[in-house]
Symmetry: D2
Subunit: 358 residues, 4 copies
Amino acid sequence: MSSVIGKNIRLSVFGESHGEAIGCVIDGLPAGVKLDMDKIYFDMARRAPGKDKTSTPRLEKDIPHILSGLLDGVTTGAPLAMIIENTNTKSKDYKDIMTVPRPSHSDYPAFVKFGGNNDVRGGGHFSARLTAPIVFAGAVAKQILDEKGITVGAHIKQIGEVFDEAFDMNCISAQLLKNVSSKTFSVIDDGAEQKMRDEIEKYRLDLNSVGGIIECAAVGLPAGLGGNMFDTVEGRLSEILFGIPAVKGVQFGLGFGFAAENAKAVNDCYEINDGKVCLKSNNNGGVLGGMTSGAPLVLSVAMKPTPSIAAPQDSVDLEKMENTTLEIKGRHDPCILPRAVPVVESAVALGILDMLSE
Amino acid sequence: MSSVIGKNIRLSVFGESHGEAIGCVIDGLPAGVKLDMDKIYFDMARRAPGKDKTSTPRLEKDIPHILSGLLDGVTTGAPLAMIIENTNTKSKDYKDIMTVPRPSHSDYPAFVKFGGNNDVRGGGHFSARLTAPIVFAGAVAKQILDEKGITVGAHIKQIGEVFDEAFDMNCISAQLLKNVSSKTFSVIDDGAEQKMRDEIEKYRLDLNSVGGIIECAAVGLPAGLGGNMFDTVEGRLSEILFGIPAVKGVQFGLGFGFAAENAKAVNDCYEINDGKVCLKSNNNGGVLGGMTSGAPLVLSVAMKPTPSIAAPQDSVDLEKMENTTLEIKGRHDPCILPRAVPVVESAVALGILDMLSE
Amino acid sequence: MSSVIGKNIRLSVFGESHGEAIGCVIDGLPAGVKLDMDKIYFDMARRAPGKDKTSTPRLEKDIPHILSGLLDGVTTGAPLAMIIENTNTKSKDYKDIMTVPRPSHSDYPAFVKFGGNNDVRGGGHFSARLTAPIVFAGAVAKQILDEKGITVGAHIKQIGEVFDEAFDMNCISAQLLKNVSSKTFSVIDDGAEQKMRDEIEKYRLDLNSVGGIIECAAVGLPAGLGGNMFDTVEGRLSEILFGIPAVKGVQFGLGFGFAAENAKAVNDCYEINDGKVCLKSNNNGGVLGGMTSGAPLVLSVAMKPTPSIAAPQDSVDLEKMENTTLEIKGRHDPCILPRAVPVVESAVALGILDMLSE
Amino acid sequence: MSSVIGKNIRLSVFGESHGEAIGCVIDGLPAGVKLDMDKIYFDMARRAPGKDKTSTPRLEKDIPHILSGLLDGVTTGAPLAMIIENTNTKSKDYKDIMTVPRPSHSDYPAFVKFGGNNDVRGGGHFSARLTAPIVFAGAVAKQILDEKGITVGAHIKQIGEVFDEAFDMNCISAQLLKNVSSKTFSVIDDGAEQKMRDEIEKYRLDLNSVGGIIECAAVGLPAGLGGNMFDTVEGRLSEILFGIPAVKGVQFGLGFGFAAENAKAVNDCYEINDGKVCLKSNNNGGVLGGMTSGAPLVLSVAMKPTPSIAAPQDSVDLEKMENTTLEIKGRHDPCILPRAVPVVESAVALGILDMLSE
């Protein structure tokens, strides 16, 4: 198991959902970057639970406390360490699951892997709560990218049967990305928000949960980032994106939509515009041969329905080795996507910053 | 750019499409493994071009020549180095593209990245021909996995509008995987082969090409491989899979199909069968919390239509900085999927072997 | 800059000498290891300053506070995070050195590298205080090694002109290593302690400091750990050992003593003893061809005199770009070796554990 | 075991002494570098055996054959692969040692590690012959460094009881380094050559061998390369240097000489010279706090006497598990140092290039 990622900018994440604190260390950051803490707090608030009925009622202020690497608000080049204290834990809710694995959760393989020694309270180190340090690190990365003219933003493209507008892949402005990433419920078409909230509420009332798709884009990238073979933009970002709990698919540009397509229809041709080489379309989502093409980077991630639901489910007792029924009593999100948007942005920002640092 | 992958089993790939030789070095292999060269030749033949009208008429025998790491047919524990000489190159076909980038290819970002120094003949190091060493390495990995009772196999799930049967995710036998991986045109339903060949021929006659989806599975895996956060089975396999030219999406289990689903419908519940913990369904494709669950590993990759087509396309002259029309005269595949099946199997086998070696 | 080390057991160290806290994250530890905190406290006390006149009068209790990865005293397999709060900082002592680099210190290259943004108070992240988290991690590693029958211990071999007994390289007992590592002033010959203290006191009174050599050994290692080429036991341990401030040389077995030797005199021959393959001598310090030979691992590190001395020294003002004289007023060690012994043990223990985890 | 090194410039070495070919792949080289093959051949000839009585009579022309990564003599940015065919192998000389490990060699730990499957002919992958690809890669690195104004050169400082002049650490010219590295027997004081040759001849006639020290320096380095903690110049270079067979110690600046020293005598003070910050001495060998100081980088490596000697030695038969006497009949160097000088230069050049590429 590794909670460390990155070649040049190394992120090490630690903590358990119901432990004393969670946090991270970011190693390899450039010195001399002035951090705007408000922007960091804002992204962390976007991810934080308890805002409304779409998320778990667990309230965590999620205030990052920086221990090192920052002097007078400016990065020193030394590792940036941050902790968030866990204040609102109700571990007694989780007693049952010590021996009864929650369906579609990490519980069973973790039990096998760690021989029952892992902390299962609230999912332990496997909890989606561990995405808070990722958002902290991503918010730092986004500020460094912003200074280089690179903007990252994401929105909820789909929840169940409800869809937002998709990005127009060859025509995305930094302003649009800033707009979506400044919303707490990130959609392009504001009209989609209420429909999505209704969709989520429908599943919540049924003690159920629903999946969806988040679409993320980045503009301002130079051409030639990444590489072919085992250094592709797609592979490096996927390695981080699949670290977000519930992500089960990653695609770039048309992605799985390419399967039914032909080259005449989807090849991205070139033209000269204002003396510059431009793409006439961007079906490849800004990545060609594993390298950025200069067009907007566009990717989508598929997220499964939150597996923790209140309805009774079939499971087994790992001690008694017999069938049983599990009723999960903890506090859970009927849909993780609204809170996951800044996590996806963060993963992409961290990946881009790592590639840029070569 | 990096053509090196793997944490414990490190694969380093080299060569250019029209250079003297391509090859690879596999570092970290266990000693004492007897390699069956016929199995290696068979997989390499599955990938090799020139078999029929679905692929480029370029004929390469693709005979791997082992330089080190093997003594009397048994691995020594030292790096296994292999080369394949390039015998059938027609570099004059590629003169035009020196300055006119092929649409949807690596040409343009590579030109920016390498300042025009990269070898563009036949795509150079970016050519899909570089998947031959990956298949060699994968064939070695598959033999080592086979000794551990692990079987990997893939098939073409979709080409254009034609579909093969999909894997029944919770019920895949090693025999089924061996069957599909012993075919040169890998499908589950033999009736799908001719329909797919017809679909490809339709695009070939139109000087066009078509995309598709390859589905890959592995059985016999222990539970608990991989890890959460940045060591997920999904992330580690994706890093390699996106190294295969034309791959634009990777998903596990239902993948993007999760978006419209709800937990009650798709959660994978547990039951005791024959005294063992079993999954009642496998919508997660054998990965939970980033770790193998013990159920079959099932993933799909989306491949775009081969971008090299004979029809004229809009492009630009990078020297004159003016618009132009490009007619690609080289030999190309109207559909890459039939030859890509062993490459996907190889990527998955290498990834699994690397995770198993921890 | 990287404060992350290890392939399988990854240690990430953070903090500045006069910041809020220092600490580390250890990623990849096995689950189920019961930690004896008293042993950890003991090693940290060996390293802690303020014990007597051989070290800086700065008093830090150095109590590690574990934030994650431990449940009921047992490792969970999740990252083990630890912080130590800095309680006794006197930053005003360091004002002068903001622009006047201390001779033989990191100040000047750090100024160039970080453009003046690095935290120079007390040496910042470059301070030897950052060895406290290494000792914490090493104390954890030593307990895991102890369960596998592997013992690591070190002693001061030389300070200035005073020498302790050296290890008899082919005949080191676990008990001897436990003895030296249970001392706060680690020497084999107790008679050497007072002579070394006198030597240090002589330099302290002269506002000067003195160097020395620490010798470290490990017994109980299996043969075959490590590898040749770029995976040698020597190279992997050196990478960590040179991370200890003031270390300027690392040697194995006879090390630099080999230069004047001939093979007949120093080759380590074999014999059968009690049915086992044994070495008749161990001039190679337990490493042959980069791999452990089964004989005791024996290495030495050379440490330079602490560069911070109270006597006035020539330096330059980096702002005014003129020559100046620097008088360092902070609290410093006249000899770092007594406190460095557990750091060397820790580096070696971490390196061995990392190699064992393959 | 890993024969792969480097973070940004990754070198993968393969081959066995008596196999078909040895070689390497260098991944991550910049594109557009014109390589002077004569310079590469020259360094390889310095390392090649059979020149005179100081080395093994085995004659290998050691002509590197480049397979990829070079087009019209210019690097393409793709992996540079190179092979050297083994032409002059006499494997029958090595039959005995299959089961009788050579003292002070890798044979015994390799036997344990690889279960007897490793290729022992001529030392297999453990042979010093594998330093030929390192010299090739180093010769490439030296040319890239040369364009950046960085020069690397080494000389034999000591063989047995005979010494060359040492570098004057604070005053080394690029010209001096070019001079020593253009010699086939690299010494500063030409008068030392014959004395060293006599020393070697003395041991050769006695069927014995002798050790020594190689000193290496690099000038033209910017200040601030490397980093503290686990990214030190010392640690990163040591990791490669210990990959050279027979190296048993590495030290920087005064190294082990620091042990008897005091800070007043050896601290490197600063002064302004011609408007630049200069060091008044360079006892630290150009590295402070793990980073380059701008002064010449100076390091030494201790090499043990070649363990393969013709005189009979005590060993054991690993099959019969009984004591025996071994007489090694192969062709061996009575002193490895003359041929090892370009290998040390190469290791240092590769390490510097890797650090510069960050």
